[in-house]
Protein backbone atom coordinates (compact mmCIF):
# COMPACT_ATOMS: atom_id res chain seq x y z
CA UNK A 1 0.00 0.00 0.00
CA UNK A 2 1.41 3.38 -1.04
CA UNK A 3 1.98 5.87 1.80
CA UNK A 4 0.03 9.08 1.94
CA UNK A 5 1.70 11.96 0.08
CA UNK A 6 3.07 14.68 2.32
CA UNK A 7 1.72 18.23 2.28
CA UNK A 8 4.79 19.44 0.45
CA UNK A 9 4.46 16.78 -2.23
CA UNK A 10 0.82 17.72 -2.74
CA UNK A 11 1.68 21.42 -2.94
CA UNK A 12 4.35 20.67 -5.53
CA UNK A 13 1.90 18.57 -7.55
CA UNK A 14 -0.65 21.40 -7.55
CA UNK A 15 2.02 23.88 -8.60
CA UNK A 16 3.05 21.51 -11.38
CA UNK A 17 -0.49 21.73 -12.76
CA UNK A 18 -2.23 18.77 -11.13
CA UNK A 19 -5.05 20.76 -9.57
CA UNK A 20 -6.84 17.56 -8.44
CA UNK A 21 -4.15 17.14 -5.78
CA UNK A 22 -5.57 20.21 -4.07
CA UNK A 23 -8.72 18.21 -3.23
CA UNK A 24 -6.61 15.95 -1.01
CA UNK A 25 -5.26 18.97 0.83
CA UNK A 26 -8.78 20.30 1.31
CA UNK A 27 -10.01 16.98 2.70
CA UNK A 28 -6.99 16.82 4.98
CA UNK A 29 -7.39 20.28 6.49
CA UNK A 30 -11.03 21.30 6.15
CA UNK A 31 -11.87 20.19 9.68
CA UNK A 32 -8.97 22.22 11.11
CA UNK A 33 -9.99 25.30 9.12
CA UNK A 34 -13.69 24.98 9.95
CA UNK A 35 -13.07 24.43 13.64
CA UNK A 36 -10.59 27.31 13.85
CA UNK A 37 -13.04 29.61 12.07
CA UNK A 38 -15.82 28.56 14.44
CA UNK A 39 -13.63 29.14 17.46
CA UNK A 40 -12.60 32.53 16.11
CA UNK A 41 -16.25 33.54 16.23
CA UNK A 42 -17.59 32.80 12.76
CA UNK A 43 -21.24 31.74 13.07
CA UNK A 44 -21.72 28.00 12.51
CA UNK A 45 -23.94 28.46 9.46
CA UNK A 46 -21.32 30.65 7.77
CA UNK A 47 -18.27 28.52 8.48
CA UNK A 48 -18.55 26.68 5.15
CA UNK A 49 -18.39 29.92 3.20
CA UNK A 50 -15.39 31.13 5.19
CA UNK A 51 -13.61 27.77 4.83
CA UNK A 52 -14.28 27.77 1.11
CA UNK A 53 -12.83 31.28 0.84
CA UNK A 54 -9.80 30.21 2.86
CA UNK A 55 -9.01 27.30 0.53
CA UNK A 56 -9.56 29.49 -2.52
CA UNK A 57 -7.07 32.02 -1.13
CA UNK A 58 -4.66 29.22 -0.30
CA UNK A 59 -4.79 27.99 -3.88
CA UNK A 60 -4.26 31.50 -5.24
CA UNK A 61 -1.19 32.09 -3.11
CA UNK A 62 0.19 28.58 -3.03
CA UNK A 63 3.50 29.68 -4.56
CA UNK A 64 4.14 31.84 -1.51
CA UNK A 65 4.00 28.87 0.81
CA UNK A 66 7.28 28.44 2.66
CA UNK A 67 7.97 24.75 3.25
CA UNK A 68 10.12 25.61 6.28
CA UNK A 69 6.88 26.02 8.27
CA UNK A 70 4.04 23.54 8.60
CA UNK A 71 1.18 23.99 6.17
CA UNK A 72 -1.19 24.05 9.14
CA UNK A 73 0.53 27.19 10.48
CA UNK A 74 -0.05 28.93 7.16
CA UNK A 75 -3.65 27.71 7.06
CA UNK A 76 -4.23 29.01 10.59
CA UNK A 77 -2.90 32.41 9.56
CA UNK A 78 -5.19 32.63 6.53
CA UNK A 79 -8.15 31.36 8.57
CA UNK A 80 -7.61 33.90 11.36
CA UNK A 81 -7.44 36.71 8.81
CA UNK A 82 -10.52 35.42 6.98
CA UNK A 83 -12.45 35.18 10.26
CA UNK A 84 -11.50 38.75 11.18
CA UNK A 85 -12.44 39.98 7.70
CA UNK A 86 -15.74 38.15 7.98
CA UNK A 87 -16.45 39.74 11.34
CA UNK A 88 -15.64 43.20 10.00
CA UNK A 89 -17.83 42.64 6.95
CA UNK A 90 -20.85 41.47 8.92
CA UNK A 91 -20.85 43.34 12.28
CA UNK A 92 -23.66 41.34 13.78
CA UNK A 93 -23.82 38.47 16.17
CA UNK A 94 -25.68 35.49 14.82
CA UNK A 95 -24.65 33.29 17.69
CA UNK A 96 -27.81 33.97 19.68
CA UNK A 97 -29.69 31.95 17.08
CA UNK A 98 -27.65 28.90 17.97
CA UNK A 99 -28.82 28.68 21.55
CA UNK A 100 -31.06 25.61 21.81
CA UNK A 101 -34.73 26.50 21.78
CA UNK A 102 -35.54 24.37 24.77
CA UNK A 103 -33.32 22.69 27.29
CA UNK A 104 -36.16 20.49 28.52
CA UNK A 105 -36.34 18.37 25.37
CA UNK A 106 -34.68 14.97 25.53
CA UNK A 107 -32.92 12.95 28.23
CA UNK A 108 -30.04 13.80 30.59
CA UNK A 109 -27.29 13.34 28.01
CA UNK A 110 -29.12 15.63 25.60
CA UNK A 111 -29.59 18.09 28.42
CA UNK A 112 -25.86 18.02 29.14
CA UNK A 113 -25.09 18.53 25.47
CA UNK A 114 -27.54 21.39 25.25
CA UNK A 115 -26.08 23.01 28.37
CA UNK A 116 -22.59 22.58 26.94
CA UNK A 117 -23.67 24.20 23.67
CA UNK A 118 -25.25 27.08 25.55
CA UNK A 119 -22.13 27.54 27.65
CA UNK A 120 -20.01 27.52 24.51
CA UNK A 121 -22.30 30.06 22.95
CA UNK A 122 -21.97 32.36 25.97
CA UNK A 123 -18.21 31.92 25.92
CA UNK A 124 -18.19 32.96 22.27
CA UNK A 125 -20.23 36.01 23.23
CA UNK A 126 -17.73 36.87 25.94
CA UNK A 127 -14.82 36.44 23.53
CA UNK A 128 -16.54 38.68 20.98
CA UNK A 129 -16.29 41.50 23.52
CA UNK A 130 -12.50 41.39 23.29
CA UNK A 131 -10.76 43.46 20.61
CA UNK A 132 -9.63 41.38 17.64
CA UNK A 133 -5.92 41.71 18.37
CA UNK A 134 -6.41 40.31 21.86
CA UNK A 135 -8.95 37.62 20.93
CA UNK A 136 -6.81 36.01 18.22
CA UNK A 137 -3.83 35.06 20.43
CA UNK A 138 -6.15 33.99 23.24
CA UNK A 139 -8.12 31.62 21.00
CA UNK A 140 -5.01 30.25 19.31
CA UNK A 141 -3.23 29.66 22.59
CA UNK A 142 -5.98 28.56 24.98
CA UNK A 143 -8.58 27.08 22.64
CA UNK A 144 -6.51 25.73 19.77
CA UNK A 145 -3.78 24.82 22.27
CA UNK A 146 -0.93 26.01 20.05
CA UNK A 147 2.52 26.75 21.50
CA UNK A 148 3.64 30.36 21.84
CA UNK A 149 6.14 30.27 18.95
CA UNK A 150 3.53 28.94 16.56
CA UNK A 151 1.00 31.57 17.65
CA UNK A 152 3.66 34.21 17.04
CA UNK A 153 4.32 32.81 13.55
CA UNK A 154 0.62 32.65 12.71
CA UNK A 155 0.00 36.23 13.80
CA UNK A 156 3.34 37.42 12.41
CA UNK A 157 4.26 39.01 15.74
CA UNK A 158 7.27 38.74 18.06
CA UNK A 159 6.81 36.24 20.90
CA UNK A 160 7.10 39.01 23.49
CA UNK A 161 4.18 40.88 21.92
CA UNK A 162 2.08 37.71 21.88
CA UNK A 163 2.89 37.13 25.55
CA UNK A 164 1.86 40.64 26.58
CA UNK A 165 -1.30 40.44 24.48
CA UNK A 166 -2.19 37.12 26.11
CA UNK A 167 -1.64 38.64 29.52
CA UNK A 168 -3.91 41.59 28.74
CA UNK A 169 -6.48 39.41 26.97
CA UNK A 170 -6.81 37.13 30.01
CA UNK A 171 -7.12 40.12 32.33
CA UNK A 172 -9.82 41.66 30.11
CA UNK A 173 -11.65 38.35 29.79
CA UNK A 174 -11.61 37.97 33.57
CA UNK A 175 -13.27 41.38 33.92
CA UNK A 176 -15.83 40.56 31.23
CA UNK A 177 -16.70 37.23 32.85
CA UNK A 178 -16.97 38.77 36.29
CA UNK A 179 -19.24 41.58 35.09
CA UNK A 180 -21.43 39.89 32.51
CA UNK A 181 -21.14 36.11 32.78
CA UNK A 182 -20.29 35.24 36.39
CA UNK A 183 -21.84 31.79 35.97
CA UNK A 184 -19.18 30.85 33.41
CA UNK A 185 -16.21 31.39 35.73
CA UNK A 186 -14.27 28.27 36.69
CA UNK A 187 -14.89 27.23 40.28
CA UNK A 188 -12.96 29.40 42.75
CA UNK A 189 -11.58 31.44 39.88
CA UNK A 190 -11.96 34.81 41.47
CA UNK A 191 -10.62 33.79 44.81
CA UNK A 192 -7.29 32.45 43.63
CA UNK A 193 -5.29 33.47 40.66
CA UNK A 194 -2.27 31.57 39.41
Amino acid sequence: MASEPTDLELVQEVLAGRVEAFAILIRRYQRLVATAALRMGVPRQEVEDVASEVFYKVFRSLRRYEPSHALSTWLYRITVNAALDHKRARRHDARSEEIPASLADGGPSQLDAAAGRQRASLLHEALQRLPDHYRSPLVLSHVEGLPLDQVARILDLPEGTVKSRLFRARAMLKTIIRRHYPGLAPEGAFETSS
Partner: protein, 189 residues
Protein backbone atom coordinates in the same frame (compact mmCIF):
# COMPACT_ATOMS: atom_id res chain seq x y z
CA UNK B 1 -15.22 46.92 22.54
CA UNK B 2 -18.63 46.85 24.11
CA UNK B 3 -19.24 47.60 27.81
CA UNK B 4 -15.58 47.48 28.66
CA UNK B 5 -13.94 50.74 29.55
CA UNK B 6 -10.20 51.06 29.11
CA UNK B 7 -8.47 50.11 32.32
CA UNK B 8 -4.85 49.72 33.36
CA UNK B 9 -3.75 46.11 33.63
CA UNK B 10 -1.43 45.16 36.43
CA UNK B 11 0.31 41.82 36.97
CA UNK B 12 -2.33 40.90 39.56
CA UNK B 13 -5.10 41.19 36.93
CA UNK B 14 -3.90 38.23 34.89
CA UNK B 15 -5.81 35.21 36.13
CA UNK B 16 -3.21 32.95 34.53
CA UNK B 17 -3.06 30.33 31.81
CA UNK B 18 -4.73 27.61 33.88
CA UNK B 19 -7.73 29.83 34.51
CA UNK B 20 -8.08 30.55 30.79
CA UNK B 21 -7.65 26.86 29.95
CA UNK B 22 -10.34 25.90 32.45
CA UNK B 23 -12.70 28.62 31.28
CA UNK B 24 -12.35 27.86 27.58
CA UNK B 25 -12.33 24.08 27.85
CA UNK B 26 -15.87 23.89 26.44
CA UNK B 27 -14.72 25.67 23.31
CA UNK B 28 -11.83 23.20 22.92
CA UNK B 29 -14.34 20.36 22.74
CA UNK B 30 -16.25 22.17 20.02
CA UNK B 31 -15.33 20.87 16.55
CA UNK B 32 -17.01 21.11 13.20
CA UNK B 33 -17.02 18.65 10.32
CA UNK B 34 -17.73 20.12 6.93
CA UNK B 35 -17.04 19.10 3.35
CA UNK B 36 -16.18 21.97 1.07
CA UNK B 37 -14.03 19.94 -1.32
CA UNK B 38 -16.56 19.88 -4.15
CA UNK B 39 -17.53 23.51 -3.62
CA UNK B 40 -13.91 24.71 -3.75
CA UNK B 41 -12.92 22.51 -6.69
CA UNK B 42 -15.97 23.67 -8.67
CA UNK B 43 -15.07 27.26 -7.91
CA UNK B 44 -11.48 26.68 -8.99
CA UNK B 45 -12.67 25.06 -12.22
CA UNK B 46 -15.14 27.87 -12.91
CA UNK B 47 -12.72 30.71 -12.33
CA UNK B 48 -9.43 29.00 -13.10
CA UNK B 49 -7.49 31.48 -11.00
CA UNK B 50 -3.88 31.69 -11.97
CA UNK B 51 -1.65 31.02 -8.98
CA UNK B 52 -0.04 34.26 -7.92
CA UNK B 53 3.49 34.83 -9.29
CA UNK B 54 6.43 33.94 -7.09
CA UNK B 55 7.59 37.01 -5.20
CA UNK B 56 11.19 37.98 -6.01
CA UNK B 57 13.85 37.59 -3.30
CA UNK B 58 14.93 40.84 -1.65
CA UNK B 59 18.26 41.24 -3.47
CA UNK B 60 16.84 40.72 -6.97
CA UNK B 61 15.87 44.34 -7.68
CA UNK B 62 19.51 45.38 -6.98
CA UNK B 63 20.81 42.73 -9.34
CA UNK B 64 18.32 43.85 -11.99
CA UNK B 65 19.49 47.47 -11.66
CA UNK B 66 23.16 46.51 -11.92
CA UNK B 67 22.47 44.33 -14.97
CA UNK B 68 20.51 47.14 -16.66
CA UNK B 69 23.28 49.68 -16.09
CA UNK B 70 25.95 47.23 -17.22
CA UNK B 71 24.05 46.39 -20.39
CA UNK B 72 23.47 50.11 -21.07
CA UNK B 73 27.20 50.83 -20.77
CA UNK B 74 28.05 47.89 -23.02
CA UNK B 75 25.61 49.15 -25.67
CA UNK B 76 27.12 52.64 -25.50
CA UNK B 77 30.66 51.27 -25.90
CA UNK B 78 29.53 49.15 -28.85
CA UNK B 79 27.90 52.15 -30.50
CA UNK B 80 30.95 54.36 -30.01
CA UNK B 81 33.25 51.63 -31.31
CA UNK B 82 31.08 51.19 -34.41
CA UNK B 83 31.04 54.93 -35.04
CA UNK B 84 34.82 55.11 -34.55
CA UNK B 85 35.38 52.24 -37.00
CA UNK B 86 33.11 53.91 -39.57
CA UNK B 87 34.88 57.28 -39.27
CA UNK B 88 38.36 55.75 -39.40
CA UNK B 89 37.39 53.52 -42.30
CA UNK B 90 36.33 56.53 -44.42
CA UNK B 91 32.71 55.47 -44.66
CA UNK B 92 30.61 57.77 -46.87
CA UNK B 93 27.66 57.76 -44.46
CA UNK B 94 29.91 58.62 -41.54
CA UNK B 95 31.41 61.55 -43.49
CA UNK B 96 27.92 62.83 -44.34
CA UNK B 97 26.85 62.46 -40.70
CA UNK B 98 29.97 64.31 -39.55
CA UNK B 99 29.28 67.13 -42.06
CA UNK B 100 25.74 67.33 -40.71
CA UNK B 101 26.98 67.49 -37.12
CA UNK B 102 29.53 70.24 -37.92
CA UNK B 103 26.90 72.25 -39.83
CA UNK B 104 24.48 71.94 -36.94
CA UNK B 105 27.24 73.01 -34.58
CA UNK B 106 28.05 76.07 -36.68
CA UNK B 107 24.41 77.09 -36.90
CA UNK B 108 23.99 76.65 -33.15
CA UNK B 109 27.14 78.63 -32.47
CA UNK B 110 25.95 81.45 -34.75
CA UNK B 111 22.56 81.54 -33.05
CA UNK B 112 24.20 81.65 -29.66
CA UNK B 113 26.42 84.54 -30.84
CA UNK B 114 23.41 86.50 -32.00
CA UNK B 115 21.61 85.80 -28.80
CA UNK B 116 24.66 86.95 -26.83
CA UNK B 117 24.90 90.21 -28.79
CA UNK B 118 21.20 90.92 -28.16
CA UNK B 119 21.60 90.21 -24.48
CA UNK B 120 24.66 92.49 -24.26
CA UNK B 121 22.79 95.35 -26.02
CA UNK B 122 19.86 94.94 -23.65
CA UNK B 123 22.16 94.97 -20.62
CA UNK B 124 24.03 98.09 -21.76
CA UNK B 125 20.74 99.93 -22.38
CA UNK B 126 19.47 98.92 -18.94
CA UNK B 127 22.70 100.11 -17.34
CA UNK B 128 22.45 103.49 -19.08
CA UNK B 129 18.88 103.88 -17.83
CA UNK B 130 19.87 102.95 -14.28
CA UNK B 131 22.75 105.40 -14.37
CA UNK B 132 20.41 108.22 -15.54
CA UNK B 133 17.92 107.41 -12.77
CA UNK B 134 20.71 107.50 -10.17
CA UNK B 135 21.92 110.89 -11.40
CA UNK B 136 18.38 112.25 -11.24
CA UNK B 137 17.94 110.99 -7.67
CA UNK B 138 21.33 112.43 -6.71
CA UNK B 139 20.30 115.84 -8.04
CA UNK B 140 16.92 115.78 -6.38
CA UNK B 141 18.22 114.46 -3.05
CA UNK B 142 17.96 117.77 -1.08
CA UNK B 143 14.41 118.30 -2.29
CA UNK B 144 13.45 114.74 -1.36
CA UNK B 145 15.03 115.12 2.07
CA UNK B 146 13.12 118.36 2.70
CA UNK B 147 9.83 116.80 1.64
CA UNK B 148 10.52 113.82 3.93
CA UNK B 149 11.24 116.06 6.92
CA UNK B 150 8.07 118.06 6.24
CA UNK B 151 6.00 114.86 6.04
CA UNK B 152 7.50 113.59 9.30
CA UNK B 153 6.76 116.86 11.08
CA UNK B 154 3.19 116.87 9.78
CA UNK B 155 2.75 113.28 10.98
CA UNK B 156 4.06 114.10 14.45
CA UNK B 157 1.77 117.13 14.68
CA UNK B 158 -1.20 115.02 13.62
CA UNK B 159 -0.43 112.42 16.31
CA UNK B 160 -0.13 115.11 18.96
CA UNK B 161 -3.51 116.60 17.93
CA UNK B 162 -5.15 113.17 18.04
CA UNK B 163 -3.78 112.47 21.51
CA UNK B 164 -5.06 115.79 22.77
CA UNK B 165 -8.54 115.31 21.27
CA UNK B 166 -8.88 111.74 22.63
CA UNK B 167 -7.72 112.80 26.06
CA UNK B 168 -10.33 115.53 26.23
CA UNK B 169 -13.04 113.22 25.02
CA UNK B 170 -12.11 110.53 27.59
CA UNK B 171 -12.23 112.98 30.45
CA UNK B 172 -15.64 114.31 29.45
CA UNK B 173 -17.30 110.92 28.73
CA UNK B 174 -19.77 109.32 31.27
CA UNK B 175 -18.52 106.23 33.18
CA UNK B 176 -20.17 103.07 31.79
CA UNK B 177 -22.14 100.82 34.23
CA UNK B 178 -22.28 103.33 37.11
CA UNK B 179 -25.76 104.18 38.42
CA UNK B 180 -26.20 107.92 38.97
CA UNK B 181 -28.51 109.62 41.47
CA UNK B 182 -31.42 111.38 39.88
CA UNK B 183 -31.20 114.92 41.32
CA UNK B 184 -34.86 115.69 40.58
CA UNK B 185 -36.59 112.54 41.95
CA UNK B 186 -34.01 111.81 44.59
CA UNK B 187 -33.63 108.16 43.64
CA UNK B 188 -31.55 105.97 41.40
CA UNK B 189 -32.19 106.33 37.71
Amino acid sequence: MKNLPMFPVTPGDDPGARWADALLSDLRRETLDIDVTRQVMLRLEAHRPAPAPIPLPGHWPGVAWAASIGLGCACLVLLMATLGAMVLGGDEGARAAWALVTSAGQVTWGLLGRFGQAAAAFLSASLALLRGAYSLLDTLAPVVRGAGALAAMTGALSIACSVYVFDRARRGAPIAGQRSIDPIRGGFS
